[in-house]
Symmetry: C2
Amino acid sequence: MRRLAEHLGVGATTVYWHVTTKEDVLDLALDHIFGEVALPQVSEDWRADARGLIHGWRAAMLRHPWAPGLLGRPMLGPNVLARTEFLQSTLARAGFTGVGLAAATHGLANYVIGSALTETTWRRTDDPDVRHGARRHIEDSPTTYPTLVASGHLGDQAWGDDELFTGGLDTMLAGLDQALR
Amino acid sequence: MRRLAEHLGVGATTVYWHVTTKEDVLDLALDHIFGEVALPQVSEDWRADARGLIHGWRAAMLRHPWAPGLLGRPMLGPNVLARTEFLQSTLARAGFTGVGLAAATHGLANYVIGSALTETTWRRTDDPDVRHGARRHIEDSPTTYPTLVASGHLGDQAWGDDELFTGGLDTMLAGLDQALR
DNA sequence: ACCTGAACACCGTTCAAGT
DNA sequence: ACCTGAACACCGTTCAAGT
């Protein structure tokens, strides 16, 4: 709050005239970020529409690395709801109804949220030694972590975050396709 | 810190002899929770094994509603790594390798993380008026939220969190099945 | 209507000092 | 080896007061 006020070139307590509590500021900030998420043009390919929204969603969070830290609060702002409406209407158009529609919406949303949270966590961990230390710990115990050692978990992987995220998203969409048959 | 010390029946600054910083305590707490996640008996059905681990994972987080708030930090404790090893070895046994293996691991992990985070967020929001207020906002604007109104989003749904979570998990597993063909 | 400074209760953390 | 109290810098927030 004090730093925000300073950033605004204003007295430390002035902010409290415009906002009742710090939580309010955080709520507003979170919803504001969602306003940056582009709503794709509705096409006749629902998978493409969903993919576009989810990728934009993730991109917005990655642009503001502290944003996922705000995710532990109810997301009820108009911008969030507009994105949820777009996602759910896309899925409804695909043929989902009832529980299936709710599950599909939650599934995709929770996947982006989890991904963005873990990605920004690593991105914010400035000290690469933390990661390297953990990697070394893994390599020191090849009997307890045989698979992690072999797969290069936490190592300097050949594949990037984008590739992993897209892979998981495609998996989810393939599963949704399956449910529609 | 002060409250932790009081809880331990000890002077306010005593904790700092056992731990160097508050972050340390949170790291230890997070990894401790993962220690509660039961590792399923390895069976010949990899889907069942994965399902068991993921459900236990989620249950542990829901048991400690503040746990997801700790997720914004690197998960490198031995308990976390042991669960990751189990999950990844299960997926490797299923036939995944290379990027596919990494993507499958990340996909499932990020889905639980996101789900646990949003679920505990709602569970911790003691005031039901927050949710009801948002629901009312949706119903007041049926033109902007046609799908959300129809689906009862944020309403008192007929289906519970467990059902939605299982649905999303099954979707992901179905997608993974697809990738193995 | 909007901004201010003083003040309060509360943090995490340091450090010299005790046993 | 383990614990203590005093102290520091820093929070979010209130409130009476200014314009």
